[in-house]
Symmetry: C2
Subunit: 356 residues, 2 copies
DNA sequence: CTGAAAGCGCTAACAT
DNA sequence: ATGTTAGCGCTTTCAG
């Protein structure tokens, strides 16, 4: 019905086109399109009608350059296959929904250099804020973040100094907390199964915390088993088989994430082991989609979604109240013993003589 | 050591700053920073040194406006919690890595209106291309895509007309393929368990295909069970329990995704059912991280990563060879019978008479 | 309430 | 190999 010309002239429409189409100055058209209040209802309607009819989409590049304002928030995570980060991203998305800010995601594959590159790329779009995982960055990345002049939120991990704001949990403390739970349930010969990735700092900190926590009780790890490659049930099975073959006397297996933990759990069940009686098990993350396994794996909730929400909240808040100093939010993860850590306190002494 | 002024003047650095710092014209600095060949090694070094020392990050907003070129590819997916999309995104990321193009992700939560909003927002940054999931869009979104003048790739689904290019599989055909496999293995009383989400068109098409395929053999679904909410093992268990209670004579359960399928499998195993003898089961997606379950669930691979790679390839290719017409790539999903569809042909007739 | 002028930071297109 | 000029499409600022 409308007299669309074939639009052969593949030139994107400009404000000027709309202006000409409705006989209102570019300036006023711009005002209408930005929802500014000081325009008469009559012209507003005229302009909106014209814009809609033409199918005009504003050019934010030009807008951003002129106004020096960009409604983008750069979000940089190590991986999307990890299952943890998609949840964080959802939290960020949700929290930003009503703020006019838009998240833009980048992925580093756990490579610090790649992180630096992605960060550079993103900063060159002059976002309103940056959210990135972890506290470990290359010196160059750190420098860029410090001099960017925008709010920076480091997420997931609070074990270390932050550039600006942080939202996360202490993975070290989570490891210690698990150690306490393990020991006070009476387990003594503990094996650790985890990733070999040198750049997964949080997994490493969890292991460090576990080792520390055990040390506080006069214990040390009885065995470790590392792997590389994506976390999957199958990996967990294989590792569990391997570690139990090497050291059949282990009475607890701590997995650095729930996915391999679940695999281990299935393996142990299949082997007919007495869980949690003779063998306790635990993972990390609180991956709720695993509910439904024959036994509920003990785990520590990493507060993923909340971390995303809070981080986004900090960025969104900054706009209003000017430059507040960095905020530090350390969430307290909840340990859920599930069905794989025995509840009854075992009173046996820790070392030397009779261990359980 | 270096004499950094406190940088109180929180003004982002410009090309001009670099230019003044090294005594080379802005234009030449710009050339160096864009790696253009026509600059003498001497000046190149001078410029790079100055830029590094200052910590200059180019302003792509200005650059894009001037050059009318944006190295961004808009990628719009329904969800990140689905596990399917992160893999697609990884494929896109990987394929774009060496092209100078950068993916930018948006999430719609399966809402067509939200898709329209996100699309508008992204198009306003004038990306070099758009990749989005599915063939179903609001009329306004469709109009925007048609008039954007950039390559558009609709992914995941090939069952319907495309705006420009498509890369995906036919979910309808996948459903039919599964129906054939089920019937020729001799199963006759088939139940479907799936999502209730009205906007998950691909799940719906799989069910349609299944129904069609069964009809071709003179069969129809003996029972259905729907749910809403995220896919999780637990859901699969509950649904399985429910459908088998209502209709204990079912001999096959088809789940609309592997996650609920895995839950169902665990439930069935626990109930001590004879799988695949008395009860066959299948899911959809080829989620390889589920390998490690007691039995391998039959499934159809959705080619997620390849879809991402091919889609990105189309966008990246366009730059070079100008405006080719839309490409259509329909991948052929592989059906893996796993351990939950019996292999031996059962020769029993389909229905009353002999219809196959 | 509306319009005109200037310029955001960079790069294309031309000089030199 | 380097510099100069103009302008990308919008918004800020200041006049009406």
């Amino acid at each position: 019905m409308t007299q669309h010309r074939p639009n052969e002239l593949r030139r994107p429409l400009t404000l000027r086109d709309v202006s000409e189409a409705c006989g209102v100055s570019e300036m006023t058209v711009s005002r209408v399109l930005r929802n500014r209040a000081d325009v008469s209802p009559a012209t507003r309607e005229k302009v909106l009608a014209a814009a809609r009819a033409l199918g005009y989409v504003p050019n934010k590049i030009a807008g951003a350059l002129a106004s020096q304002q960009v409604n983008l928030v750069a979000v940089i995570v190590p991986s999307l296959s990890n299952l943890v980060f998609p949840e964080v991203l959802s939290g960020i998305s949700a929290a930003l929904e009503e703020t006019g800010l838009q998240p833009v995601f980048g992925v580093t594959n756990y490579s610090p250099d790649r992180e630096e590159t992605v960060l550079y790329e993103m900063l060159s779009w002059r976002p309103s804020g940056v959210i990135l995982a972890g506290l470990e960055h290359t010196p160059a990345a750190r420098a860029m973040l410090e001099s960017a002049g925008i709010p920076v939120v480091e997420i997931m991990d609070t074990d270390g100094p932050a550039i600006d704001s942080v939202v996360g949990i202490s993975h070290r403390a989570a490891g210690r907390q698990m150690a306490d739970a393990i020991v006070s349930a009476g387990y003594r010969r503990i094996g650790f199964l985890g990733t070999k990735m040198p750049d997964d700092h949080r997994a490493r900190k969890r292991m460090d915390g576990l080792v520390e926590g055990l040390a506080a009780h006069g214990l040390e790890l009885a065995a470790t088993e590392f792997y590389s490659g994506g976390s999957a049930l199958q990996k967990g099975r294989e590792m569990t088989k391997a570690i139990l073959t090497r050291q059949p006397d282990l009475d607890f297996l701590y997995f650095s994430n729930d996915m391999i933990g679940a695999g281990g759990l299935l393996e142990a069940i299949e082997q007919g082991l007495d869980i949690p009686g003779k063998l306790g098990m635990a993972g990390f993350n609180g991956l709720n989609f695993l509910a439904g396994l024959p036994l509920r794996l003990a785990t520590i909730d990493a507060c993923r979604r909340e971390i995303g929400e809070r981080a986004a909240g900090i960025i969104a808040g900054r706009g209003t109240d000017g430059l507040v100093g960095g905020v530090r939010i350390e969430l307290t993860p909840r340990l859920d013993p599930g069905d794989t850590i025995r509840r009854q306190q075992v009173q046996a002494p820790v070392s030397g003589a009779a261990s359980s």
